[in-house]
């Protein structure tokens, strides 16, 4: 096919120049080793905490018969939520033809892969008998939402991993000879993983088709994982969980926490890998606009979720909403809604705020708020069951997360940081060939 971009001289030139920029920071460096050392040392402490839980039982946590799902489940919901952003950026925006998402699509996939993978581990940490995990597959019953959750989270993880890896093959082929001062195994691994890619026209065509199929498949899967996760609560008759809009409410919330995570990753990749040429201010501006949109959507669902039962005030709902609006959780609830949602949206309306640093700060606040939001979705509805809680020790009545529980939760965040660092440091984080293609196309059109 003469005249095609991939066989042109310009494409090769662009690919060479981009890979020179991107690959400068790929590989094992001193900073990388120190950072990983810190992460693993902290992880070791958390694993020790988990070993205590294995030995003594879930009694080492603050969980008891009244509040039997706590920080672990909230954290699980948060992880599934955040992983959803891969679908939003790469699939929804990518398929609709938004070209600007190209340099951040791989970042979004890294976030998706890391959070989906760790979500599976988080849920195991909540099990009373983790040794019986295989029972879910041996004796699994189709009518249990847990089965649906296990299957879709696994599927989503595999699809996201493919969507991260598959479009990276040309980059690996281009990069395998250009790694300088790096151990041999890395270029060997690149060679192995690039599957003898030789930048031939046909290969690009097949890949374009394959990626398109993945992009389309991921959309329903991603919707499924978080809808099903919301159903873990919505299928029960408890006030505060017994809601028909939990699916879309969770999905819109997922876009918020995921976008926040991607912006944080963008900021640090740009800073530590010197990628400001590729992750430009304009990218922060545009993703800031996406952030406004998804946050408004989430505010809309929040209004539905709280105003409608709040208007009727059915007995059990009234108790639950009372706790949130004016009771024990009022401080958290209003803090999250105002400082974690409404004020950030208002601030981001200004162009001067949609710059890397302010966006980073806003994203950190909103991500923290997103985590706490999951906590107040999971915990308070259990504190006031339909029948009174009586004749039990005081630990039964009030849920207070323990240090061990917090450390096990911290482990999941450390694991995400480890995965996110590994994937971005050992492999090119910017889709080099896609940018080269775009630039070459531009040049060819002009001439």
């Amino acid at each position: 096919m003469p005249g095609s971009v991939f066989s042109s001289e310009k494409y090769r030139e662009k690919l060479d120049s981009i890979s020179a920029d991107v690959l400068k920071n790929v590989g094992i460096s001193k900073g990388f080793i120190i950072w990983m050392g810190i992460l693993f040392a902290a992880l070791a402490v958390c694993i020790y905490a988990y070993s205590l839980q294995l030995k003594t039982g879930l009694g080492v946590t603050g969980l008891r018969d009244v509040t039997s799902w706590g920080m672990y489940i909230a954290n699980f919901v948060f992880f599934v939520a955040t992983s959803l952003v891969g679908m939003l950026i790469s699939c929804v925006l990518g398929l609709s033809g938004a070209k600007w998402v190209k340099p951040i699509s791989r970042i979004a996939e890294i976030i998706a892969v890391a959070f989906a993978a760790v979500a599976g581990l988080v849920i195991i940490s909540d099990m009373g008998r983790p040794d019986r995990l295989p029972y879910v597959f041996i004796f699994g019953r189709v009518q249990s939402p847990i089965l649906w959750d296990v299957s879709v989270v696994t599927t989503y993880f595999v699809l996201s991993l493919l969507l991260w890896f598959f479009p990276m093959i040309p980059d690996l082929a281009a990069a395998k000879d250009k790694l300088q001062g790096q151990p041999k195994f890395l270029s060997k691994a690149y060679e192995l993983l690039s599957f003898r890619w030789n930048h031939n026209e046909m290969q690009y065509k097949i890949m374009a088709q394959g990626v398109r199929i993945l992009l389309i498949l991921i959309i329903p899967t991603a919707f499924a994982i978080h809808t099903v996760t919301s159903w873990l609560f919505a299928v029960t008759p408890r006030a505060g969980w017994d809601s028909t809009i939990f699916g879309p409410y969770f999905i819109s919330g997922a876009f918020v926490s995921g976008t926040a995570a991607v912006i944080i990753a963008m900021y640090f990749y740009r800073k530590s890998y010197n990628l400001s040429k590729y992750l430009t201010d304009s990218h922060f501006d545009k993703i800031g606009k996406v952030f406004i949109l998804v946050s408004l959507l989430y505010i809309y669902f929040n209004i539905n979720e709280f105003l409608v039962p709040g208007y009727k005030l059915k007995t059990a709902d009234a108790i639950h909403l009372g706790e949130l609006f004016t009771g024990e959780y009022a401080f958290l609830f209003w803090g999250i809604q105002i400082f974690g949602l409404i004020i950030p949206v208002f601030l981001m309306l200004f162009r001067s705020i949609r710059k890397p640093l302010p966006m980073l700060l806003i994203s950190i606040v909103m991500l923290a708020a997103a985590w706490l939001k999951r906590y107040i979705i999971v915990v308070p509805p259990q504190a006031h069951p339909y029948l009174p809680v009586q004749n039990v020790p005081v630990e039964w009545v009030v849920y207070k997360p323990t240090v061990i529980e917090s450390l096990v939760t911290l482990a999941s965040i450390l694991l995400v940081l480890i995965i996110v660092t590994l994937l971005s440091k050992l492999f090119p984080v910017i889709p080099m060939w896609e940018l080269a293609e775009e630039e070459a196309e531009k040049v060819l059109k002009e001439t």
């Binding site: 879930l58 009694g59 799902w69 008998r129 609560f233 004749n391």
Partner: protein, 322 residues
Amino acid sequence: MASKKKKKELTGIEEILESSRRDFLKKVGIVGAASVAGGAAVYSGYRFEKAKKNEETVKVLTEDNRLVEIPRDQMKDYKPDLKVLQTRGREGIPGRRWVMVIDLSKCRNARKCVSACQEAHHLRPYEYHINTLVMQESVSTPEYFMPKPCQHCDNPPCVSVCPVDATYKRQDGIVLIDNERCIGCRFCMAACPYSARMFHWREPVAAVQDQESEYDVELNVPQKKGTISKCLFSADRLRDGILPYCVSACPNGVFYFGDENENAVTNGTTKETVNLKELLEQNGGYRLMAELGTKPRVYYLPPKNRIFEFEKGPETEYKEIT
């Protein structure tokens, strides 16, 4: 000559020795013969007894309803193994639909149902299969006591959500939990509107004592760390035709228990058997939170015409045992 003399002298000594040896042998002989005779007697007696036992047989009805005869000495006490316990525990008792009626007008919070249950199922004082609660519908209505076991719903939310079939509904209406199967996800606890379920957050209180016993799913003993436990309607007692632990322990006649198919329930205290439908009809029987559609198998009779003062009694403080 000298040697002959010597020999003679020796003979004298030998004679003495000889006589004592003969004497000794004689004694040994007597003892030996006696023991042989005795042994033979014991042995023949043993054979006789054995032969006699072999002849004695017993008539036994087999599982497939055949009357057979077997030698008495070949009889062994039957101890069902785990597999048998699991299988029959899942099937339930054919032809039965167990039902419980709790008369709130009689409950005085004696909590004997609670302690009998905890003793039978090896639980701590604050771990409940059945708990008696102080209830009050609104500030203008009086307080009353309400024993709350598992409601053994006919549309059980806990069974629907269980991912591994660890909790299940039997043909006789009982909802059971198999702690050999439970993965400890606690989805059933989240789904139960009656807060009927408990979890073993630590090693169960009788873990060491129960180490050797075979797990009976109808008693849920031994209890296991990291798994769910709950009221079983005393399925083990029902198999033997005995009223549940809580029902028999109540001193105030609060509990009725029986078979819906027979339309008869028996009061655990008075042992009086009454017509179920009439009992519910004449006393305004109802079920807890019927609007949720769970269809409980436990009925309540309202706390009307109470013949005693409502007395809460001193508050017991429960301390967690770790």
